[in-house]
Symmetry: C2
Subunit: 433 residues, 2 copies
């Protein structure tokens, strides 16, 4: 709770343009109630600043921030996603509640410094080594509360160590024994949340980590409860091969056959998804979450983004492993990899041919849709979640209202973020810590 506010920055991103003279009225619950030329006394005048919707990070594993700079040395030959996973599992084995709190707080604070105001935390390390009490759930929620970021906690069901395989040692820290145990703990965690900044969603980690029967049961219950449902899908070719071997079809295909997929469903990665499966998936109104920097770091492969766009996909963005936290870099990376492989400029475009505008939507509104949070736009009914852009930033010199968005997305980074606002609470960016 905070006081009601009338906010005015030099420029505010409203209806797809940088507008001046715009006031934003925020009520004491932290929601936007009016936007426009309100002619009310301004309580918060942001000089030399522009406001955009805060970025929405639809897919994060916060604790992996602890791997920064630690996974880039290789032996005689290259590494793979799977060799990286071994390094990640080594970190997992050091995580108790204190350590996951510490790493999560670090990641969430760094997200805020990068203009990310809402995170979908795909939380799967739920137990300290040797324990089975879900004590890490509370630690992650507490880290989010203490950081001030808006949290969509995506609570993960993990039950098999590969398709038809038992859990290995590190994976025991991820374990939930059954869907009924899952929902029991889900309700316990839901009761811990601060409703003004925290929501919860359901997750089956991947087709590797749960039986199809369990995935179907979890998803049906998530629909009954009206909560979002996320799952990793087809990031690596080996997952597809294993799935075809056991089930006779790839993960996306089997999910489409067995589940009532709708707009509350998000498939994360889809790097190697068959175009026809993708078309069907998008046709259900579901979301695709791409994680450009992590997918690049892990050498996943190049997703068929032009195909997704042709079917008018809802594409949102995750920082995933948090190897780097910069939403502008995520967005341009996504576009740039497509430009390189297509050998043309401007692949991800809106109807008017604007690349930055479309990308901004991925990093804001589409993320909010995937997480089921009223955010991602500066409009009445949404939470007052903003990124504050420093108009004096050296990277932006030469901007005009028309070029500012593209100058930021293609030419700047988190050094141009001066702060954020989450539900009416202002935080200044400190790049040093």
């Amino acid at each position: 709770m905070s006081d009601a506010q009338i906010i005015e920055a030099d420029f505010t991103w409203v209806d797809g343009a940088m507008a001046s003279g715009v006031q934003i009225e925020v009520d004491d619950s932290g929601r936007i109630v009016a936007v426009g030329e309100l002619k009310k006394p301004t309580t918060h005048r942001l000089q030399g600043r522009a406001l955009t919707p805060g970025f929405v990070n639809a897919h994060s594993h916060a604790f992996q921030r602890g791997l920064r700079g630690k996974t880039e040395r290789f032996g005689a030959s290259s590494g793979t996603f799977w060799s990286w996973r071994e390094e990640m599992y080594s970190l997992v084995q050091t995580l108790d509640a204190d350590r996951i709190y510490e790493l999560s707080l670090l990641a969430f604070r760094e997200m805020l410094a990068a203009g990310i105001t809402c995170v979908g935390e795909f939380h799967y390390v739920r137990h300290a080594p040797g324990c089975g009490d879900f004590s890490l759930d509370e630690a992650v929620v507490r880290a989010a509360s203490d950081s001030g970021i808006r949290l969509a906690l995506l609570l993960v069901y993990y039950n098999t160590g590969g398709i038809g395989q038992p859990l290995d040692a590190a994976q025991k820290q991820f374990a939930t024994s059954s869907p009924s145990e899952y929902w029991k703990q889900f309700d316990r965690v839901a009761a811990m949340l601060d409703s003004s900044t925290q929501t919860i969603g359901a997750v089956a980690h991947s087709i590797r980590a749960a039986t199809m029967a369990d995935i179907a049961e979890l998803h049906a219950e998530s629909r009954a409860r009206g909560v979002v449902f996320h799952i990793h899908v087809e990031e690596q070719r080996r997952e597809i091969e294993d799935c075809v071997e056991l089930y006779g079809q790839p993960p996306m295909s089997i999910l489409l056959d067995r589940l009532e997929i709708d707009e509350r469903f998000t498939a994360v990665h889809c790097t190697h998804t068959d175009p026809l499966d993708m078309e069907l998936f998008i046709g259900r109104g579901a979301n695709v979450c791409l994680c450009p920097v992590t997918e690049a770091n892990l050498g996943d492969g190049v997703a068929d983004v032009p195909g997704m766009l042709a079917d008018d996909a809802h594409i949102c963005i995750g920082t995933d492993s948090n190897s780097r936290l910069c939403m502008a870099e995520e967005l341009r990376m996504l576009e740039y990899v497509q430009r390189l492989t297509e050998e043309r400029r401007g692949v991800i475009l809106d109807e008017a041919g604007a690349c930055g505008m479309r990308l901004l939507g991925f990093g804001t509104e589409a993320g909010a849709r995937s997480l089921g949070v009223a955010a991602g736009a500066i409009t009445p009914g949404c939470w007052a979640d903003f990124a504050v852009v420093d108009l004096e930033s050296q990277a932006l010199v030469g901007w005009t209202p028309e070029t500012l968005l593209d100058a930021f997305l293609f030419g700047a980074g988190r050094e141009a973020i001066a702060g954020v606002c989450v539900g009416g609470q202002w935080m200044e960016t400190v790049h040093g810590d």
Copy 2:
């Protein structure tokens, strides 16, 4: 000229590692004279800071900083390198000496803020509209002097508007009428330079912009003078097609046949170079300059970096269009695009399997080699050119001496750069301007 200095930071990058307790002795000419545990009284103690060699930017067109945020809107369909070039030519037509000074100063200052201490400025807009007096040469030199960056001015010969084509209107601002006129002005510009921070090299813009006879003549003279020689090579497929049509072979092939290419030669881009030509080129000891962010922005295509590495290429890095200025982002972009297309982690590795170490070499020593400048390493004989890394940066939290370099290159950006030193002159980074 400055006073002699004994510098000590918490950590200093020496011999491929972050070492503590290292002093750097710099003489009053701005050169490093000793590095190690010198046991001398420290004059400059940098607390909470690490020093790396300043980044060397081997290929820049500083004035293109003026396009930031202005080339990312498209019509009904995508753009290309060639449609982008039209936008760039429109900017060129507004450039007089004042305007190119202003844009160059902006770009050079932003480079310094990003830890780049030396720039190879591939300078081809040499006249104001309607003039032919090379008045823009002095403006660029002055901008470099006023910014404090080390300049390797790469003075460009441009004489044809395409292979066998006359110059079009915008290109007239690039024109030099003959090699003899070129060298006359080369000598005039060389006389303007400050020898402690400025050098000069020779350039034929590309096989599009000069006849083979002129390129051969210019290159032979550059060798006689012992200056470096740079040229754009095979960035776009159309250049190759046009060249094959007129000369019966691609640009790299004809350059290899006609020129005595040696270690002072740098080919910029080589995006579509035939592997056998590349092997021959590398065999001559020559340099390849890649411009990862610009090549991505322009949709050039994916270069065969593994092939270059197999032949032990000298690869350096340019920020080229300066659409974004961040050397860490350039370096990880280069590696990441390869990871995505190869579907493996760790493509660019040194002998010990270290990715960041190899990348750092591209962004420092290899650039200095390409520009013929004594820089790129913290070692006696080199200029005292450093990037100052802020060890308190939020993006680096969790660093150890072993992980710091990778944490910076993969996990941070210019927000972690606290300042630079160029030839013994210290500058603090101001991210706002």
